[in-house]
C-alpha cells in the first residue's frame, strides 16, 4: 500500500498540502485530477520520496519507486537502450543481464528498432515510451506518473495507457497517476480522485467497477465517468 497520512508541505508562505491524506491499495491504480497548481506534483514527489514533507507520514512499499515525468527527461547523450536501462545500471545490475532485460522491454514497448538511436532521433511518442520503459524495468514497488502523456496526440495517449495497463497486469502494484485528461483517467483508474487547491483537498472520488484492462473507450461506464469528470472540472462558460 502507498499512503500519505496528514502530510503538510509549504513553499515559503504558500501551503500546498495541509494535512493531506490519500492511499492507493496494493493493486490499485488511482488517478488524480485537478486544476494546475493544486499540489498534485508536490504530493507525487512526496509519495515517491523525492521531497520530504514538513509533517505527516508517508508509507511506501519497500523497494524502488518508478517515475514517469511530464517530459521524457532522457539523457541526450545516451541511446534509447541505455536510457531505458538507467535504473538497472544504478542498481548495479551486470551489463549482460541488463541488456537482456532492456531488450525485452524495448520489444514490449515497440522500440526494438530504436535501441541504438539517441533521444534527438526519436519522435515524442517514442521518447515517452522509453521513459515508461525506464520506470517499468526497475520492477518498481509502486508507479508514480506525473501527466506523462500530456504532450502527445490522442491516439498515442491511448496506446501508451494501454502499454501501462499491460505492464500493470503483469505485475500489479499501487499506481498514482496524475493527469488532466478525463479519458485517460476513465480508462486507466480503479479510483479517480478529483482535487482542488492549493492547499490540495479532495473534492470528489469516483470508483470504477470494470477492471481497467477490460475497458474500451466507448464503454458506458467510461463515457459516464468522463461526463461526470467533465461536469466536476469544467468551469461554467458564459453563453456565446
Amino acid at each position: 500500500m502507498l499512503a500519505l497520512d496528514g502530510v503538510v508541505k509549504s513553499y515559503g508562505p504558500a501551503r500546498v498540502l495541509d494535512g493531506f491524506s490519500l492511499e492507493a491499495g496494493d493493486q490499485e491504480i488511482v488517478c488524480l485530477l485537478g486544476p494546475s497548481g493544486c499540489g498534485k506534483t508536490t504530493l507525487l514527489n512526496i509519495a515517491g520520496g523525492l521531497l520530504a514533507p514538513d509533517a505527516g507520514l508517508v508509507r511506501r512499499p519497500p523497494g524502488q519507486p518508478g517515475y514517469v515525468f511530464q517530459e521524457p527527461r532522457l539523457l541526450p547523450w545516451r541511446t534509447a537502450a541505455d536510457n531505458l536501462g538507467l535504473g538497472l545500471l544504478a542498481q548495479g545490475v551486470p551489463k549482460k543481464a541488463r541488456e537482456a532485460i532492456v531488450a525485452r522491454y524495448l520489444d514490449q514497448l515497440g522500440l526494438a528498432g530504436a535501441a541504438h538511436l539517441y533521444p534527438h532521433q526519436l519522435s515524442g511518442g517514442m521518447r515517452q515510451r522509453v521513459a515508461l520503459g525506464r520506470a517499468f524495468v526497475v520492477q518498481p514497488a509502486c508507479l508514480l506518473l506525473d501527466e506523462p502523456f500530456k504532450s502527445l496526440d490522442i491516439g498515442l495517449r491511448l496506446t501508451l495507457v494501454r502499454l501501462l495497463l499491460e505492464e500493470w497486469q503483469r505485475r500489479p502494484r499501487p499506481v498514482l497517476f496524475v493527469t488532466h485528461d478525463t479519458a485517460e483517467a476513465a480508462l486507466a483508474a480503479h479510483r479517480i480522485v478529483v482535487l482542488d487547491g492549493p492547499p490540495a483537498t479532495i473534492r470528489a472520488e469516483i470508483a470504477l467497477h470494470t477492471p481497467p484492462c477490460e475497458r474500451r473507450p466507448d464503454d458506458a461506464e467510461v463515457l459516464q465517468t468522463e461526463a461526470r469528470l467533465y461536469a466536476l472540472l469544467a468551469k461554467p462558460l458564459p453563453a456565446l
Binding site: 515517491g48 523525492l50 524502488q64 519507486p65 517515475y67 515525468f69 517530459e71 527527461r73 539523457l75 541526450p76 547523450w77 545516451r78 538507467l86 535504473g87 545500471l89 544504478a90 542498481q91 538511436l117 539517441y118 534527438h120 532521433q121 525506464r134 526497475v138
Partner: protein, 252 residues
C-alpha cells in the same frame, strides 16, 4: 572531400600570407631586427641537431603538463563544488578573481621571491592563471545543468561515480572543454613567460638567452616551438576529447 579541402584551404592561405608579409619585412629590415623565415628555420634546425631543442622542449613540456593538470583539476573540482553551493561559490569568487585578475607579471615577481629560480615559479604562476578559467567554465556548466535531469537521476537511484559518468560529465563536457582549451593556451603562454623570467633552462629561458646574445633568428625559432606546444595540446589532447564528447550529437 570538397568540404575538407575548403576547411584547410583558407587557413593555409592565411599562413602563406603571413610568411609573405614576414619575408617582405625581413627584406626591408636588417636580420638582427627581422630575421628571414629561412634564417629562423636554419636556427631551428641547428637547435634540433645539437639537441638543445629537445632538452629544453622536454623540460618545458613536463612543467606545462604539470601546471595544466594541476590547474584544470583544481579549477574543475572547485567549479563542481561551487556549482552545488552558493555559499562556497561566493566564498571562492574573490580569491579566484584575484588569481585571474592580477597581472601575471605580478605573480611572477612574487613567485620569484617565494620560490626563487627553478621549475616551481613558472608552474605556480601558470596554475594561478589556468585554474580560474577552468573554474569559471565548470561553474557555468553547473549553472546550466538541467535540474529536471538531476531530479530524474536521483529518482532512479543514480549516485556516486555512475552519476558523474552518466550525467555530470557529459552535461559539463562542452563547457569544460571550452575552459580547458583556453586554459591550455594560457598555460603555454604564461608558463613560457615564467621560464623566460625565472628559469635557467627550458624553452622560455632559452629564448631569454638568445635575446641577450642578440640572436633574433633563434628567439623567433623558440616562438615557433612555443606555438608547436599549443598545437600539440589542441591536436593531441583537446581535439580528440571534444570529438569524443560530441559524437552523440553527430548521429543524424
Amino acid at each position: 572531400m570538397a568540404t575538407g579541402a575548403r576547411r584547410f584551404c583558407w587557413p593555409l592561405l592565411g599562413v602563406l600570407l603571413l610568411v609573405a608579409l614576414w619575408s617582405l619585412l625581413a627584406a626591408l629590415y636588417p636580420p638582427i631586427l627581422v630575421p628571414s623565415p629561412m634564417a629562423v628555420l636554419g636556427a631551428l634546425g641547428r637547435l634540433a641537431a645539437t639537441g638543445v631543442l629537445w632538452q629544453a622542449l622536454g623540460l618545458t613540456l613536463l612543467r606545462l603538463a604539470a601546471a595544466f593538470a594541476l590547474g584544470s583539476v583544481l579549477g574543475a573540482t572547485l567549479g563542481l563544488l561551487a556549482g552545488q553551493s552558493d555559499a562556497l561559490a561566493g566564498l571562492l569568487r574573490p580569491g579566484l578573481g584575484l588569481a585571474a585578475g592580477a597581472p601575471p607579471i605580478a605573480w611572477i615577481a612574487l613567485a620569484l621571491i617565494w620560490f626563487g629560480t627553478g621549475s616551481l615559479t613558472p608552474i605556480v604562476v601558470a596554475v594561478l592563471v589556468t585554474a580560474p578559467v577552468v573554474f569559471d567554465a565548470t561553474f557555468q556548466g553547473m549553472r546550466a545543468l538541467d535540474r529536471d535531469l538531476v531530479t530524474m537521476a536521483r529518482a532512479f537511484g543514480l549516485q556516486g561515480a555512475a552519476l558523474v559518468r552518466e550525467l555530470y560529465l557529459p552535461a559539463l563536457a562542452p563547457h569544460l572543454l571550452a575552459g580547458l582549451s583556453v586554459g591550455a593556451a594560457l598555460t603555454v603562454r604564461i608558463g613560457v613567460m615564467g621560464e623566460f623570467l625565472a628559469c635557467d633552462r627550458g624553452v622560455g629561458s632559452a629564448m631569454a638567452l638568445a635575446r641577450t646574445q642578440l640572436n633574433t633568428a633563434e628567439v623567433v625559432a623558440w616562438v615557433l616551438v612555443a606555438l608547436a606546444l599549443l598545437w600539440l595540446s589542441e591536436g593531441v589532447l583537446l581535439g580528440p576529447l571534444a570529438r569524443g564528447a560530441a559524437a552523440w550529437r553527430q548521429e543524424a
